[in-house]
């Protein structure tokens, strides 16, 4: 099956996408779905750094068996339109963990799009997204959570925070909850703010130069997204990849 045509901004899931970037990428790329099945009781962890100098769309379709878990930790620091998309279906008592950071400037759109379907009871999901942008860049998180009618005791959470280093950058969070069961917990939150000037001055008053102060504060800010990642070396690799993108950011 081919899509043949490109989506438009009228499609909810493409509302904040970079249509020019998509056009340059071509419609065919949107048919490339990576399919991942995690069998019952098994665990999967993936740590990824996505983005290059060309438009990029990565689409994952994940199925979690009973009691299975999947965790994705992703740094999206593309130099052109970069979209990372996950559709996940959770069976009974499965767990989905997503930690994502979009970071960058250069008037580029970087986005995460997730669709988490709690198809059976007692499954849990947790998504933590941090967006750090400057120089006219945009960071998006479109997160859809669907809870099926009989998926009681679902516990789903998504948390988005944007940090804009200068005027002109933007962050969009679109939580979408579709809940058909009645005994569930679904939490979502979204905030967008600036760097804490008090903290920055406090650090500088102790001798920390402005670039280092910014790096420390950004590191603390995005660190939330990788808290659930137990592999310390991988966590460091992702943080380094994200912070390297900060070079040259507005101080």
């Amino acid at each position: 099956m081919t899509t043949a045509t490109l989506p438009t901004r009228r499609d909810e899931a493409w509302r904040y996408a970079d249509m020019d970037g998509l056009k340059r990428l071509g419609a065919a790329a949107l048919d490339q779905w990576q399919v991942i099945d995690v069998p019952a009781g098994e665990n999967l962890t993936r740590c990824l750094v996505v983005g290059s100098d060309a438009p990029e769309v990565q689409r994952l379709r994940v199925t979690l068996g009973e009691g299975a878990s999947a965790a994705f930790f992703v740094v999206n620091r593309g130099g052109d339109y970069t979209r990372f998309e996950v559709e996940v279906r959770l069976a009974r008592a499965a767990h989905f963990e997503f930690g994502g950071v979009t970071i960058g400037g250069a008037a580029v759109t970087r986005e995460f799009v997730t669709q988490v379907t709690h198809a059976e009871p007692e499954a849990t999901s947790n998504q933590i997204i941090r967006a750090v942008h400057w120089a006219g860049a945009t960071g998006n998180f479109l997160g859809e959570i669907k809870v099926a009618r009989h998926a009681q005791k679902t516990d789903a959470a998504q948390d988005f925070k944007g940090l804009l280093l200068e005027a002109g950058a933007s962050a969009n969070a679109v939580p979408q909850l579709e809940i058909f069961a009645d005994d569930v917990k679904c939490a979502h939150g979204a905030t967008v703010g600036e760097l804490d000037e008090q903290a920055r001055f406090y650090m500088m008053a102790r001798g920390v130069d402005p670039a280092t102060a910014q790096r420390l504060l950004v590191q603390a800010f995005i660190g939330d997204a990788f808290v659930a990642l137990e592999d310390e070396a991988e966590r460091e690799r992702l943080l380094d990849a994200a912070l390297a993108a900060l070079e040259g950011a507005k101080l």
Binding site: D196, E197, Q198, A199, F201, Y202, M203, M204, A205, R206, G207, V208, D209, P210, T212, A213, L216, L217, Q219, A220, F221, G223, D224
Partner: protein, 247 residues
Amino acid sequence: MLEITNLHASVGDKPILKGLTLSVPAGEIHAIMGPNGAGKSTLSNVLGGKPGYEVTEGSVTFRGEDLLALEPHERAAAGLFLGFQYPVEIPGVSNVQFLREALNAQRKARGQEPLSGGEFLKLAKDKAALLKMDMEMLKRQVNVGFSGGEKKRAEMVQMGILDPAFAVLDETDSGLDIDALRIVGAGINSIMRAPDKAVLLITHYQRLLDVVAPDKVSILAGGRIVETGGPELALRLEAEGYDAVMA
């Protein structure tokens, strides 16, 4: 060491300091007292270089250098320490990481080699012990979840680690109970009481001065120093109040 001459400073459009002149030589602990709204915190913020405080006239010379021309981190590297009245919480950054970055940034600016992780931890441990602070506290996030007293004690540990030539301490005694006050006072004495160091100690109360024993006391009112004397001036203020002493 610190020469403030005819300093005028505003916050927004509001003039707060109106011709403040003060000289603090090396070896001196100089207390500044004054009623609410006199400009005490503005003075410390101007000396630290906090954004939003505009100097409209006058000069500040620190060890012969134009202090006001320096960025806040350059002031720190030059040997100035600003003790905050309200130390800032920095979630996600540990005290150890923060202070090691700060100390090594200062050392780099002064052309010194950075301290290794091990060397830094040993130094931090010594200074924490001096202020009777548990080393575990230093591994926690900067000031997050610290009580008011713990924050002030942590400020003094920071001062001990950074070892400045000059400290401006803005109401370091506020929020301290009696025991903590003694510990913090003793910390100021042991870290800063030296012939080549000096302190500007901004306070409301005599009780810290009982422990630290200033060489000089000045009264700041209406944005200017209106009177300077010895330690007896603080005792008179405590007994009679600002209105009577300044009348």
